[in-house]
């Protein structure tokens, strides 16, 4: 029996496990945290997702009903391609690495990990702009083996992206709150119990997303969300920190 820890390249294996979806609990939380901070790891996860997706191509085709396309058209009506908030934007990252090689600043290299891709990728802002407009991140955790949510906010676009670990069975929905210095929670909206959520923070709440403020998630009734105040139990919370 080979001990798994003795197998080569632990990072690569962790990336493969995350892409396949076999992790849970603390191991999953740790891997999701690493996605936020380790560009090489995020690239490997992406490569594994695409590699494993080859398995799906074997599934027989099935024609969807005609009405589905019009449903999709309605769903995207009035929306353009969203400025994507990527945890570690790959293509941008390469350009940045190239650009910052000359600058050679350690701080800039760190900022590279947190660059948000712009809608017009041909215009690459100078590295200093990243330092001036830092991304803001938070890790929201529950008790013990409870849920884990990684959050990342781009002040420039007011986009908040969350990656949630499966929150388990619940007829209610997770609602996200910002709790600034006054201690009064304001709803930022409902998020998906697993996977990605992207939302645009309402103008009045943007100034509350800064260092030291708390993001929290409670379980709330679906029908009436968003709510003026939390009613359900807090399932995860974490402090914001800027990088």
């Amino acid at each position: 029996m080979v001990d798994p820890m003795d197998l080569p390249d632990e990072r690569e294996l962790l990336a493969a496990e995350l892409a396949l979806g076999v992790l849970e609990g603390e191991a999953l939380a740790a891997a999701n945290r690493r996605l936020l901070t380790d560009a090489a790891f995020a690239e490997e996860v992406e490569a594994w997702r695409e590699r494993l997706a080859g398995m799906a191509l074997d599934v027989p085709d099935e024609t969807p009903p005609d009405a589905l396309w019009s449903r999709i058209e309605r769903a995207i009506d009035g929306t353009g391609p969203a400025p994507v908030v990527d945890l570690v934007p790959r293509r941008q990252l390469r350009r940045w690495q190239f650009g910052t090689a000359a600058a050679g600043a350690v701080a800039a290299a760190l900022a590279v990990l947190l660059v948000i891709p712009r809608p017009e990728p041909s215009i690459i802002p100078p590295p200093t702009q990243v330092v001036l407009q830092p991304a803001i991140v938070a890790q929201l955790r529950g008790e013990g083996e409870g849920p884990f949510v990684a959050a990342r906010y781009d002040p420039a676009t007011a986009q908040l992206r969350l990656v949630a670990q499966d929150m388990g069975e619940d007829p209610r929905v997770p609602e996200l709150w910002i709790i600034p210095e006054d201690g009064i929670p304001r709803s930022l909206g409902v998020i998906r119990p697993a996977g990605d959520t992207q939302l645009v923070v309402a103008e009045g709440h943007r100034s509350m997303l800064h260092d030291g403020a708390t993001l929290a998630i409670t379980m709330e009734p679906r029908a009436t969300a968003p709510h003026p105040a939390p009613t359900g139990p807090r399932v995860a919370a974490g402090k914001i920190f800027g990088i």
Binding site: L52, V59, P65, P121, P171
Partner: protein, 190 residues
Amino acid sequence: MTPSSPSAILARKRLADALISVGRGDRAALAEVYNLTSAKLFGICLRICGDREEAEDVVQEVYVKVWQRAGRFDPERASPITWLAAIARNSAIDRLRARPNAATAPIDAAGEIADDRPAADAVIEDAQEQGRMRACLDALEARASSAIRAAFFGGLTYAELAERDRVPLGTMKTWIRRGLLQLKACLGDG
């Protein structure tokens, strides 16, 4: 991932070009992507969800994501159909896990996926690439390929797989990790 035939090369390029146009906000290009790929992606979502209505919801979600994320597609790195299949699979698995009865459904779904039926068509996807994945999976130990398929199509975690096969968690981890490394070596693309 070298396409095998001129028609496969053309089909791949057509889809890649359409995706790039979608990334620039071209809605007609999204319609083309849908026409070229919806049967494949609906097939994937239906296999994972096992329910037509739910699969339709997931497919809708997938094309909305494609509309939003196509700017991230990198034709030099990923095959366009594989990129789309990854979005479809992950969205369907997310849906599966968000179900109230998530604990039981995936195991049933995983039971029917061990067959090696070839895809109904191989116009867009590269038949050679697809055949290689099948051959590489078949080359693994049966218990490893079965576990990897069940995780991929059924969303089963290490703990659920260990329970399904009645083996210790560490044993299951070793099977899968070894299998994944062998798979990568066999596919020879990394």
